[in-house]
């Protein structure tokens, strides 16, 4: 991974697979799994997310066998914590992303990634009015594709390669301030699209 030129994978990532499963409502399936503990639903989720979770962990720079192990741990956590999933707060893909992120960081640092919320939550009476937080895969892909390349690059280096601002700054040979302003611009654009399309 150290020998890879920065942002090399940008093109590959943007070319998304348009499989039919991208149309499924994963947040509804995960919610239903929490209610019913139906293994068939779990298997459907597993088949869709396990290969993506493993792809994400490999991108963070971990070897294949470790990625396989951490993927299985992550997917087991999906089963264990499904009852804590709240679709009004996050799409299924977002929730599973944070589980995979924490599992990988905990393993790499041997220290728990600081989380900002108790995992337990009590249903909020207003939750039903807050709307569904899931956006379909192709809408998401379009959002990322709409970013200028230098903004997409800092997003990928942050999310897929786990690089800090100063690491990105030295790898791209640009000032720290430029890394931060690119991240701010990218965030602003992605969040605008995300809000408009939800």
């Amino acid at each position: 991974m150290e020998n890879k030129p920065p942002g090399e994978d940008v093109e590959k990532v943007v070319a998304l697979n348009a499989d039919t499963t991208s149309q499924m409502d994963w947040s509804a399936i995960l919610t239903q799994l929490a209610e019913t503990q139906d293994k068939k639903l779990y298997i459907t989720l597993f088949r869709h997310f396990a290969p993506k979770v493993k792809a994400y962990i490999i991108r963070l720079g971990l070897v294949e066998t470790t990625a396989e192990e951490l993927m299985q741990e992550t997917m087991l956590t999906v089963w264990r914590k499904a009852h804590l999933y709240n679709r009004s707060k996050a799409a299924a893909s977002t929730w599973i992303f944070t589980l995979a992120r924490n599992q990988s960081i905990d393993w790499m640092r041997r220290q728990k990634y600081p989380e900002y919320e108790l995992e337990e939550w009590t249903p909020d009476p207003d939750d039903s009015d807050r709307g569904e937080q899931s956006v379909t895969a192709d809408r998401m892909a379009r959002a990322v594709q709409s970013l200028p390349e230098n903004q997409a690059q800092v997003i990928y280096m942050s999310f897929y390669e786990g690089r800090s601002h100063s690491e990105i700054s030295s790898r791209l040979g640009i000032p720290l301030g430029s890394v931060k302003s690119r991240l701010r611009l990218a965030s602003e654009k992605l969040k605008t699209i995300w809000r408009a399309e939800v």
């Binding site: 990532v13 089963w79 009852h83 929730w95 992120r101 600081p114 900002y116 999310f159 302003s181 991240l183």
Partner: protein, 216 residues
């Protein structure tokens, strides 16, 4: 709590991405646990992670991965509804910090740097600084600049610097463009949680003399 100083969007994105150092992530998570506004922003940033995960091309997984996980699930105890009372007391220790120091700021074993300035280093596996600072009223931090980012979260008391006034819950999210000298303006000691991703650079002779002693 009336929070006026928030996390920079670039810091939030890196928190969501999991690319902040342990020390910086701890300060960010502490502010997030105190600030509903930034919490909503963090959830939106994490949704970018979700959409990037969704956009990844699947890779091959081991043939028996599903069977292995299903077997592990069968060994799981029945899902029991665990009602854990949130440990929210009147404590001014945010939840993520309580994992490191327990529930009180009053039982910390402070070390003195100079009269009126104390510190306590946190056991973060991290490159930069990760510490609690306690500064007496009227005292100032030594003027310094940074090579990288610095996060300072006020837990008790308040300070003012060139940017403004910071009270409990406020976070100063600064980069290498800033030279500042925070001065404590509360009646009680000001306690802050500080993280940097690189060593600080002191801009006065006294600061440079003190640097080997303070380890900043």
């Amino acid at each position: 709590m009336n929070i006026r100083h928030h996390l920079d969007e670039a810091t939030l994105m890196s928190y969501a991405a999991g690319s902040l150092s342990q020390a910086m992530a701890l300060v960010a998570a502490c502010h997030l646990s105190m600030c509903p506004e930034c919490r909503a922003r963090a959830q939106a940033s994490e949704s970018i992670g979700g959409m990037l995960l969704e956009g990844l091309d699947p890779v091959d997984i081991s043939d028996d991965a599903l069977d292995a996980v299903l077997a592990a699930i069968d060994k799981e105890p029945e899902v029991v509804e665990i009602i854990r009372e949130p440990v929210r007391t009147e404590s001014d220790v945010p939840m993520p910090l309580a994992d490191y120091i327990g529930g009180s700021l009053d039982t910390i074993e402070w070390k003195r740097i100079v009269p009126g300035v104390w510190y306590y280093d946190l056991p973060c596996h991290t490159k930069g600084v990760s510490r609690l600072l306690r500064i007496a009223p009227g005292k100032a931090m030594l003027p310094h600049t940074h090579d990288g980012n610095e996060l300072t979260l006020v837990l008790r008391g308040s300070f003012s610097d060139e940017i403004g006034r910071f009270a409990a819950g406020d976070i100063a999210d600064l980069d290498d463009q800033i030279e500042h000298q925070p001065l404590v303006d509360s009646e009680e000691d000001c306690i802050c949680l500080v993280a940097t991703d690189a060593p600080l650079k002191f801009t006065t002779l006294l600061g440079r003399i003190m640097q080997p002693v303070t380890g900043f």
